[in-house]
């Protein structure tokens, strides 16, 4: 059995389109998570973005599609094959519009930073020499500074609309991200021809 893991959420539609271009299609249904495809012995599973990397690392899925933010936040033992050039977004530092913090140099010591990406945030502020306190959250980061849980946030931004609607403004860009094609290292060796086919689409 050959399995492809693709992420729920913002990368889902583009990922489905990418698979279709590769000749793999399946009948979509809202609640289903594991799909048989038109290709023999090939399944597609739909899981949370972070879990894509886990499924592929452990070999439960042979290849997967995941944002580079996930791969940079945590080191997985997978091979990264290709930039799929969709799902572009940026990792930013943002504060409430009326905050005293206007740029990196006005961040006070041990400032509270709410984020879903503690490792990336710690690395960035570490490199800047700014001591901070990380508050790890799992979602809705934007409300952390509005409720005084934190003073700033580090989050992934697509269009910037969510930031704006929550009265936040970006003060710094940390990194740029897009979707990556990854594979389990053993699958990369065992199903080499099949995986190489995905590289030229």
């Amino acid at each position: 059995m050959y399995r492809i893991a693709i992420p729920k959420g913002s990368l889902l539609n583009d990922s489905k389109a990418f698979l279709e271009k590769s000749g793999i299609s399946f009948e979509w249904s809202d609640r289903k998570l594991l799909f048989e495809t038109n290709v023999k012995d090939t399944q597609v599973l739909i899981v949370r973005p972070k879990d894509v990397a886990v499924y592929v690392e452990k070999g439960a899925a042979d290849i997967g599609i995941v944002g580079s933010d996930v791969l940079e936040e945590h080191r997985y033992k997978t091979v990264t094959l290709r930039d799929l050039d969709y799902g572009h977004c940026t990792m930013v530092v943002a504060v409430p519009k009326d905050s005293k913090i206007k740029n990196l140099s006005s961040i006070p010591d041990y400032c509270k930073v709410a984020t879903k990406f503690p490792n990336l945030a710690r690395k960035f502020f570490g490199e800047q020499g700014i001591p901070i306190e990380i508050i790890e959250l799992y979602g809705s980061i934007e409300i952390a500074p509005l409720t005084d849980l934190s003073e700033i946030i580090v989050d992934l931004v697509g269009t910037g609309k969510t930031l704006k609607e929550n009265g936040l403004t970006q003060i710094e860009t940390i990194s740029r991200h897009s979707a990556r094609l990854i594979a389990n290292r053993v699958s990369w060796q065992l199903y080499h021809d099949r995986i190489m086919n995905f590289l030229n689409i």
């Binding site: 059995m1 592929v56 690392e57 452990k58 070999g59 439960a60 080191r75 033992k77 997978t78 091979v79 990264t80 094959l81 290709r82 930039d83 990556r180 389990n184 290292r185 053993v186 699958s187 990369w188 060796q189 065992l190 080499h192 190489m196 590289l199």
Partner: protein, 394 residues
């Protein structure tokens, strides 16, 4: 009473199968003339630092009453190499040794086992005193080692396994290019390339190569020998080699060999190994340029054993010509080790798959618990054991 993570009790049901597998594997090794050894569980930390510094971090450290630092053995190759260079140094070469024992490692990943059962062989030294490192000797040792590996996997009936090969010489050309660039541009490339490939990030790898290209182009004082690195008029410029290496030097052996110079030692060595498919069947091998073994330890061939639906290798091995000289004279050496627990999981051999057979067990009921009654039952059970495997006093 919690067990620490990564260790477990082996219950009878596990142990019966493990014991059968150990016996089968050791029998195969023994039948090739390999003799079983068992080095001590503890080793001086200094010895480990000398032989396999990379494993020091992973080793469990113990302090003895004199304050001496010891390590629970994280590997068996190192102690066997020590043995070969010291107590066994005067024995005829090559030395053929094997083992089935446990090693101890601590890993940051909490999910990984800390007590690992391994079985393997070490082929140390050469009967040729003049040219122990010659290509002919290397080929002979490679074939012997890999034949034992393939035979063991076949004996265990491991389905659809593959041996993934790589060789430090595949990297030598790349290394030379990096060295030249590093010298001229003051870039630390080898470390960077090592890091991206160990991460398995082929995208980053391409980026590093592009960076070299950019730096070469921008550098006004670019020496003429560097210009050839990005000269696109020649199809086979060194930089092109690096760009394509990731994908072209990874694939089926015949595809990869087609890119190598057929007069080179590397071609000779790899194609000799692939010839084993004549005996063990087709599609047993795969070559992977991106596999990065510990380069301070492995000095030539390196290989891993993989099976479908298991995301990691079930065994690995290779040539380690520099290890023995850490403890004594210099000698070539090659070996492999297999994960016993992984073999147990993937073995289709009915002898190993089958649990304990209850039919082979006879119970004798001891209702009469008087002295004479019990003595009679024990006598009876001793007689029965001559023909029946297991007799239990109920």
């Amino acid at each position: 009473m919690n067990l620490p993570e990564g260790i477990r009790d082996l219950l009878p049901v596990d142990l019966i199968r493990q014991e059968k597998l150990r016996r089968l594997v050791l029998n195969t090794f023994n039948s090739w003339g390999y003799q079983t050894v068992l080095p001590p569980s503890l080793e001086s930390l200094k010895t480990l630092e000398k032989g396999r510094p990379k494993l020091v971090k992973e080793a469990f450290k113990v302090v003895d009453v004199d304050g001496q630092l010891l390590a629970l053995r994280p590997d068996l190759t190192m102690p066997i190499a020590r043995l070969a260079a010291t107590r066994l140094s005067s024995l005829e070469r090559p030395l053929r040794l094997c083992y089935a024992a446990v090693v101890f490692r601590q890993n940051k990943n909490a999910d990984s086992h800390r007590e690992i059962y391994q079985a393997g062989i070490e082929l140390i030294g050469s009967s040729s005193k003049d040219k122990p490192y010659s290509l002919e000797r290397t080929n002979k040792a490679n074939l012997e080692c890999l034949s034992i590996l393939l035979e063991t996997l076949d004996q265990l009936q491991i389905a659809d396994y593959k041996i993934v090969l790589t060789h430090t010489d595949l990297w030598r050309y790349a290394g030379e290019i990096f060295h030249r660039v590093e010298k001229h541009l003051e870039m630390d490339l080898s470390a960077e390339i090592d890091a991206v490939l160990q991460k398995g990030d082929f995208l980053e790898y391409q980026k590093v190569i592009n960076k070299i290209e950019e730096r070469c182009k921008r550098s006004f004082t670019c020496p003429s020998e560097l210009k050839t690195l990005f000269d696109s008029s020649k199809n086979e410029s060194p930089l092109n080699y690096l760009k394509k290496a990731c994908f072209q030097l990874t694939g089926k052996p015949d595809e990869v060999l087609a890119y190598l110079d057929s007069d080179s030692d590397l071609y000779n060595e790899l194609s000799t190994i692939i010839a084993l498919e004549e005996i063990f069947g087709p599609e047993k091998f795969f070559i992977d340029f991106t596999l990065r073994p510990d380069r301070k330890f492995y000095t030539g061939l390196y290989f891993e054993v993989i099976v479908p639906s298991r995301g990691q290798s079930i065994g690995a091995g290779g040539r380690y010509n520099n290890l023995i000289s850490c403890f004594g004279g210099s000698e070539p050496a090659i070996g492999f080790s297999l994960h016993i627990e992984a073999l147990l999981k993937h073995s289709q051999n009915p002898i190993i798959k089958q649990p304990f057979d209850k039919k082979k067990c006879v119970n004798i009921s001891c209702e009469d618990t008087s002295k004479q009654g019990l003595i009679e039952r024990i006598k009876e059970s001793r007689d029965l054991r001559k023909n029946v495997e297991v007799v239990v006093l109920d």
